[in-house]
């Protein structure tokens, strides 16, 4: 019981650890910039890969390489 109470207190009272610039920055505009660039740098390569895959699939259809589904 005491242990459970101690754990609960630690969990409730422990301060937040905002260790990176995306989590916290005193300058709100800069925090938004960090967040935006994180999203940008994450999505850009994915978008490129998806675009290439989409183009290749369309090209495969055009070349009639993919056999018709049975």
């Amino acid at each position: 019981m005491v242990v459970a109470l101690a754990v609960a207190l630690v969990v409730v009272w422990a301060p937040e650890a905002l260790a990176c610039s995306v989590c916290f920055d005193a300058n709100g505009e800069r925090r938004e910039a960090f967040l935006a660039t994180t999203i940008f740098l994450t999505l850009t390569p994915l978008a490129f890969v998806f675009a290439v895959v989409w183009w290749l699939r369309r090209r495969a259809r055009d070349l009639d390489v993919i056999p018709p589904a049975e």
């Binding site: 910039a33 935006a36 660039t37 740098l41 850009t44 490129f48 090209r59």
Partner: protein, 209 residues
């Protein structure tokens, strides 16, 4: 019972021989030249994405009203705006050249369009360099401020890519005039030039506006 097993002569588990299976004919989806160029473009895209991100964060970290820094010259919006249109026109000409090439139009027509694309691209770089010379004369240098460093780093990196792509355009033009340009090489050059042209409006909006 012996079985004959060979990559060329597949057998079943009972050991019976079958006629060699002929693999279905494969067609190349994308040429090596285009694939290599796409990989190169992916790398360069992330290079510019990193620069853009760093610039965005540094810009947002500036004290309100201090970007561009006081005392530093303002960037030439109008001249560069018109110059951007020149670059976009160059990209359009390269695509027209590609369409002429693919449609089987006479080679000189595609070659003329390709040369026009290279000439407009070169005009873009020349106007940019004239503007940079003026800006440097007014005190905007790499060492003057973070603003200057980022400006020359981002726009200069784009100009270097433009120069390389213009060289590729001229190379393809020369091969076109001799009737020795492969379709895959043309497509690779077009992909590079399209990347350079499409990237510029993003950089213009971000850095100049």
């Amino acid at each position: 019972m012996t079985t004959i097993s060979s990559p060329m002569m597949p057998t079943d588990v009972r050991g019976g021989l079958h006629a060699p299976r002929v693999p279905p004919a494969r067609r190349q989806l994308v040429s090596s030249a285009v694939l290599g160029m796409l990989i190169f473009i992916a790398v360069e895209l992330m290079f510019f994405a990193g620069l853009i991100s760093a610039f965005t964060i540094v810009k947002s970290s500036a004290v309100p009203g201090a970007w561009p820094p006081p005392g530093q010259p303002r960037l030439p919006l109008e001249v560069t705006g018109v110059n951007s249109l020149v670059l976009l026109a160059s990209g359009a000409l390269a695509w027209f050249a590609w369409r002429a090439f693919r449609s089987g139009a006479p080679a000189p027509r595609a070659a003329r369009l390709q040369l026009g694309a290279a000439a407009l691209g070169a005009a873009f770089v020349v106007v940019q360099s004239v503007e940079w010379t003026r800006l440097m004369g007014e005190g905007l240098t790499m060492r003057a401020s973070t603003y200057g460093s980022f400006f020359y780093m981002i726009v200069g990196a784009h100009a270097l890519h433009a120069l390389a792509a213009i060289a590729a355009l001229l190379w393809s033009w020369r091969r076109l005039t001799r009737g020795r340009l492969a379709s895959s090489s043309f497509a690779a050059v077009l992909a590079l030039w399209t990347f350079v042209v499409a990237l510029w409006p993003v950089l213009y909006v971000l850095v100049y506006l």
